[in-house]
């Protein structure tokens, strides 16, 4: 049951979007976010939407998985809409009832805010849908490597992240096993109040933590046996390399930001 959970939900594939260097995709996401926050009026948003849809289509990402991904964020989106709708006091008064006032500017802000958040989430999904977690970690490590000069342990953080990703399925399997073992001895995880159910999780978490620490210890020894001694002097099996497509993608990203900023000046 727990095995169905996949983190980051990567859809393996071999589309132009999948083939881009993870660093390109990370930078592109940053550019996309900048553009999104600069966007002001319909024309800008339409441009962004065209970009988003084109990338989605190129990456062959099923639209359904996008909408499914948006669902958990629904409360957040509705809350943003409601707050913006009622708390903006500019423009024409459209509607009034007791303490509720809705102004034209409020409707506008709420609409664009919701659009912005949804497009932001979709953009992030595009990255995780088309990039394997390992590639993502590699990309982050490479992009953040200038921070090493400031004594930020970039390699160590990336290593921790990839080990965490590696052990998620192992620990999920283990959780399943512990749950079965506790159920076999009469534990009940499904009924009772929320507090009762939370308490029932303790007998799962304790053995899980103990075993995770034991695993960590053994893994550290095994890594030492394989000559691990930090990031210094390390080489890689797969070296990240920018291809012409990556430069093209980045150019498009920069153009997008430029276009949105220009449109902003004209209030579009």
């Amino acid at each position: 049951m727990l095995k169905d959970i996949t983190l980051g939900q990567y859809f393996p594939g071999n589309t132009p979007v999948h083939r881009l260097d993870p660093r390109t995709k990370l930078l592109l996401l940053v550019l996309y976010m900048v553009a999104l926050f600069c966007a002001k009026w319909f024309v800008s948003y339409a441009l962004m939407l065209v970009f988003l849809i084109t990338v989605t289509a190129l990456g062959r990402i099923p639209l359904r998985s996008m909408t499914r991904g948006l669902k958990p964020m629904l409360i957040f989106i509705i809350l943003t809409a409601v707050l913006n709708l009622f708390y903006t006091r500019e423009g024409k008064l459209l509607f009034e009832w007791k303490f509720i006032h809705v102004y034209s500017k409020g409707v506008e802000t709420a609409f664009f805010m919701v659009l912005r958040i949804m497009m932001l989430i979709c953009g992030t999904f595009l990255l995780t849908y088309t990039t394997s977690p390992i590639a993502l970690t590699d990309g982050l490590e490479s992009l953040l490597s200038p921070l090493k000069k400031l004594k930020v342990p970039v390699h160590e953080l990336a290593m921790m992240m990839s080990i965490a990703l590696r052990f998620i399925p192992t620990l999920i399997e283990e959780t399943d096993k512990i749950m079965s073992a506790q159920k076999a001895r009469g534990a009940d995880f499904e009924t009772g109040s929320l507090i009762r159910r939370a308490k029932a999780l303790i007998p799962i978490l304790v053995p899980l933590f103990v075993s995770a620490f034991r695993r960590a210890d053994e893994l550290a020894t095994a890594m030492e046996c394989r000559c691990y001694h930090g990031g210094e002097g390390r080489t890689r099996l797969k070296v990240l390399r920018f291809a012409p497509a990556d430069y093209a993608a980045l150019a498009i990203g920069v153009l997008l930001v430029a276009a949105v900023i220009v449109l902003r000046h004209f209030g579009l």
Partner: protein, 285 residues
């Protein structure tokens, strides 16, 4: 006479190592020497110190007395540690806890990456190691979806990619089913036979020790028996007193001998054992 690759000289180790109050010696004055290119099995009951000994072979643990030499390098010299660990690779019991990456080939590449091997050579080492253990077609798989025996072969490939002269395996089959056990033992003996890699196999499955050149039996931190499998396993009484089993063939012959049959004890393989029994049965009264 073959030259030794691992030598322990009067090795002493106290646990816990920092000389606390409750410290007790795991072993004192233990001297063993492992010959280059040999296949040595180390057996012994739980808590006899066989895993602790193995961890001294590549400097994971450091002796509190005496010293350990790997190809003449002292394991207590920190500057030599990487070279020592490159020379003596180690495989552990739980395959899940020694696989670092969630792609098979990236895991095998871990050791050469740490050693700073150039990218092109890492590629060829990884491919070679995976082909050697027969896991090449799984190179892009996720390790957690493989069977125990396959995972343990990946772990062996991960060590092979360092191009070690010696591989120490600490109960590599303890968590595997019979089929996985067979895969691993077959791989290990092939490495020893075809590549001349020195193998030290720590195990509690007597049947795995039968194929070794040499069997060392440890008991209470010391060496109880040391010799060829035939020499060691015929000492049924001594082994039993140490709380150890003997291979099933030896056990059968031992019981028959006690009943007055005239059978040899050193027929270790099933075929040899059957032949020995047949010989007695066919003998005219």
């Amino acid at each position: 006479m073959a030259e030794p690759i691992i030598v322990t000289e009067n090795l002493g180790f106290t646990y816990p190592p920092n000389g606390e109050k409750l410290a007790f010696p795991v072993f004192e004055n233990l001297s063993v020497s492992i010959d280059r290119g040999s296949f040595t099995a180390v057996i012994g009951p739980n808590g006899c110190g066989k895993s602790t000994l193995a961890k001294h072979f590549n400097g994971i643990l450091l002796p509190s007395g005496g010293r350990v030499l790997v190809s003449g390098m002292d394991t207590s010299d920190e500057n030599l540690l990487l070279e020592i660990r490159r020379t003596v690779g180690m495989v552990f019991q739980n395959p899940d806890n020694q696989i670092v990456s969630n792609v098979v080939e990236e895991d095998v590449a871990f050791a050469p990456e740490n050693l700073g091997v150039p990218t092109a050579e890492i590629r060829s080492r990884v491919d070679d190691a995976l082909k050697t253990v027969g896991m090449y077609e799984y190179r892009e798989h996720a390790p957690h979806l493989l069977s125990g025996g396959q995972k343990q072969r990946i772990a062996i490939a991960g060590v092979l990619a360092m191009q070690p002269t010696c591989i120490v395996l600490d109960e590599p089959t303890a968590m595997l089913d019979p089929r996985g056990r067979e895969e691993v033992i077959e791989t290990v003996s092939r490495l020893n036979r075809e590549r001349g890699i020195t193998v030290v196999l720590i195990t509690h499955h007597m049947s795995e020790a039968v194929n070794a050149d040499r069997v060392i039996v440890m008991h209470q931190g010391g060496i109880l028996l040391d010799g060829s499998p035939r020499e060691v396993f015929t000492q049924v009484q001594t082994l039993r007193e140490a709380g150890l089993d003997v291979p099933q063939t030896t056990e059968l012959l031992y019981e028959l001998k006690n009943l007055g049959w005239d059978v040899p004890l050193d027929a270790l393989s099933e075929a040899e054992c059957a032949a020995a029994i047949l010989k007695v049965l066919r003998r005219p009264e």
